[in-house]
């Protein structure tokens, strides 16, 4: 199994993702420059956090036009796994691989803190090793994490069990106070129809070592690796 971490000008969580895959998952991983277009040797790609293209125009808007993104679309269409974290989630929404959009946090602040998210479903390659309804303590670091979508999209996401993480309090309750950025229905992460593309605002890759305050994020990567190992022929 081989992972790729896509690097745009302005990505800054690429090394965190690389570190987690190489040190914790213990699998081969490459950085993929955004001008590269050959993803044929990879089983999963991570679109990391950061400020691609300086967040010019809209967050994630310009990264969508990087050459690698057409390859990511093909990669996803072939059922391979794509994980977008923070800016990666914003890019996946702009690219149309995930529905909705991320707009400015409701209180306008850039929020950088540990928050709680609830695992809403384990029916994805990214969460199948986690416990349903368990609470993960993971950091967020964003100014535009306020998830919006129209009523129809929200209904579809709920109906198809595609809301993967919701912001919650320490007890797993999705209160308004526990929603850090005003996201619709406390949504912190969603997947596509085929369930092989996941986007989330929190940073599980920054929560894989107790030394960093939490290792709750590691379950996402171990799920991913276990899925790939179990379905080596599929992926």
């Amino acid at each position: 199994m081989k992972f790729g971490v896509i690097v745009f000008p302005g990505s800054n969580c690429d090394h965190d993702a690389y570190h987690v895959i190489s040190k914790h998952v213990g699998q081969p991983v490459d950085f993929i420059w955004h001008r590269d277009t050959d993803l044929s040797s990879y089983d999963a790609v991570i679109i990391p956090g950061g400020f691609s293209y300086g967040d010019y125009l809209r967050v994630g808007a310009l990264a969508r036009f990087s050459p690698v993104m057409n390859s990511v679309k093909d990669f996803a269409a072939r059922g391979r796994l794509v994980l977008g974290i923070c800016n990666g989630f914003q890019i996946l929404c702009e690219a149309g691989l995930l529905p909705g959009a991320l707009i400015r946090n409701r209180d306008l602040h850039f929020i950088c803190e540990h928050i709680n998210i609830r695992v809403e479903t384990t029916e994805t390659p990214f969460t199948n090793g986690l416990k349903a309804a368990s609470v993960l303590r993971v950091p967020i670091a964003h100014a535009e994490g306020n998830y919006v979508c129209d009523d129809e999209t929200l209904e579809e996401l709920k109906r198809d069990d595609r809301i993967i993480f919701r912001y919650c309090d320490a007890h797993g309750e999705t209160t308004d106070e526990a929603n850090p950025n005003g996201s619709r229905d406390s949504i912190a992460g969603i997947c596509n129809r085929a369930r092989n593309v996941l986007g989330l605002m929190p940073h599980p890759e920054r929560a894989c070592e107790d030394l960093l305050g939490s290792s709750d994020g590691s379950g996402v990567f171990s799920s991913l690796a276990a899925t790939l190992a179990a379905h080596a022929s599929v992926y």
Binding site: L57, E94, N105, D107
Partner: protein, 80 residues
Amino acid sequence: MKAKVYVTLKPGVLDPQGKAIQHSVELLGFNGIADVRQGKYFEIALDDKLDQESAREAATKMAREVLSNPVIEDYRVEIE
């Protein structure tokens, strides 16, 4: 020839920046402001050889595919 593109948030999409601007303006003593919505404005210099219709078509495509995100924004194009 110039294309002017106005990108605005769709009605109903929360605009916390607009709210903050409204608050600041009210602090200056302006009253009776029902709402402030922040948007974006682009000026695109186009080839003068283009006719009006092609210019509008090109600018509209840019507005739709790059300058706005149809999930949250509307756009309006003017050619002059």
